[in-house]
Amino acid sequence: MIGIAGTLESNDCIITIKDSDKLEITIESIVYDYFKEQIEAVILETLKEYKLDCVSVLCQDKGALDFTIKARLITAIERMK
């Protein structure tokens, strides 16, 4: 199953999540060098809230703030289910 949410507009991101045999997080961001850890932390915290650990998450980021990353991930999770 796969879930996708978000856009590539400025300050947004597209989150793609699918089932996997292990946890994988891939981040493609226009601010990768500065915010990679921050983005990853938001994704990990949200996955923990939803008790998900065997998923593959791709975040294509265009400068999204934490609240946007979290919201898009939650929507992608809900759509995956």
Partner: protein, 285 residues
């Protein structure tokens, strides 16, 4: 008390996170017309996540939910009703669906232990709603009424014009019902975002009919709306003269008095008092 209410698309992170720089008195986060039908879930989650970023916002926070004739409104309410919002804006409002919304809000407020009572701003956008505008204005939690002219003129099968004759009656009816029920009449947005002269003329028409605030669909309309729905410097000077003369009359135990050759009676004093109250709220000297 409001002058400007700015619509922000609920599925647009950039607009949401910048909403407080636009200096609108109220922000209307839109889950309805500004959100594609395939993205209702996404917008709802984004708005909920955004609202959780702060305990309190500088502007009044209003959320326009999807209509109660859709399958989305209950999820909208369950997601976003919280202490971070001040009001729900209800499309295609009727006294019947306002009563139902009041019940749902009471239930959610209790369940989530809210510390405030969420207000409702109904949108009058059907002929059937306009007929019962007084009932709508006197409904529980209603704090203001927005005229939805695009849907209203569509319902009436007439064309919208910049001159606005076709909505004069609707404006008047909403303004009268609002004043009678001590709530605010909020005018419909002016949809040509590049026509500032047209916007000013539209506001003049709405003010003349008793509208007290206006919704906006673009941030570049806010400055004009804030300026024109606030007391003018001349009005403030006049009001201060009236109140100073009143104070003097009371001190000297005078029953009747005049200012600039004109008799001052109770309606004049009330008008002056309201002007100064507005000036204080909007921080105008």
């Amino acid at each position: 008390m409001r002058r400007s209410l700015l619509f922000i698309p609920g599925n647009n992170p950039s607009m949401l996170q910048n909403s407080d720089v636009f200096e609108a008195d109220s922000i209307i986060i839109d889950l309805e017309d500004a959100v594609n039908i395939t993205e209702k879930d996404s917008a709802r989650n984004l708005v909920k996540s955004y609202l959780n970023t702060k305990k309190k916002f500088n502007s009044e926070m209003i959320v326009r939910i999807n209509g109660m004739d859709t399958k989305y409104y209950q999820d909208d309410l369950n997601s976003i009703v919280s202490d971070q919002i001040d009001a729900i804006m209800l499309p295609k409002a009727s006294s019947q669906n306002l009563a139902k919304l009041d019940e749902i809000l009471t239930e959610i407020e209790g369940k989530n232990h809210l510390t405030k009572r969420i207000k409702i701003i109904p949108i009058v956008e059907l002929a059937s709603s306009l007929i019962e505008v007084n009932s709508i204005a006197s409904s529980k939690r209603v704090d203001g009424i927005l005229l939805g002219a695009e849907d209203f003129t569509s319902d009436m099968e007439v064309y919208r014009t910049k001159e606005g004759k076709e909505i004069s009656y609707a404006r008047s009816a909403i303004a009268v019902a609002s004043v009678a029920n001590h709530i605010e009449a909020i005018d419909t947005p002016f949809t040509d975002v590049n026509d500032f002269i047209g916007l000013e003329e539209d506001i003049k028409n709405s003010l003349q009919l008793g509208m007290k605030a206006k919704a906006a669909i673009h941030p570049n309309q806010i400055e004009i709306i804030n300026r024109m729905y606030a007391p003018t410097p001349d009005q403030i000077v006049w009001a201060k003269q009236i109140m100073a003369a009143l104070e003097n009359a009371n001190k000297n135990k005078l029953g009747a008095f005049s200012v600039n050759g004109k008799m001052v009676d109770k309606p004049v004093i009330e008008r002056a008092s309201k002007i100064l109250k507005k000036a204080e709220i909007f921080n105008i000297d």
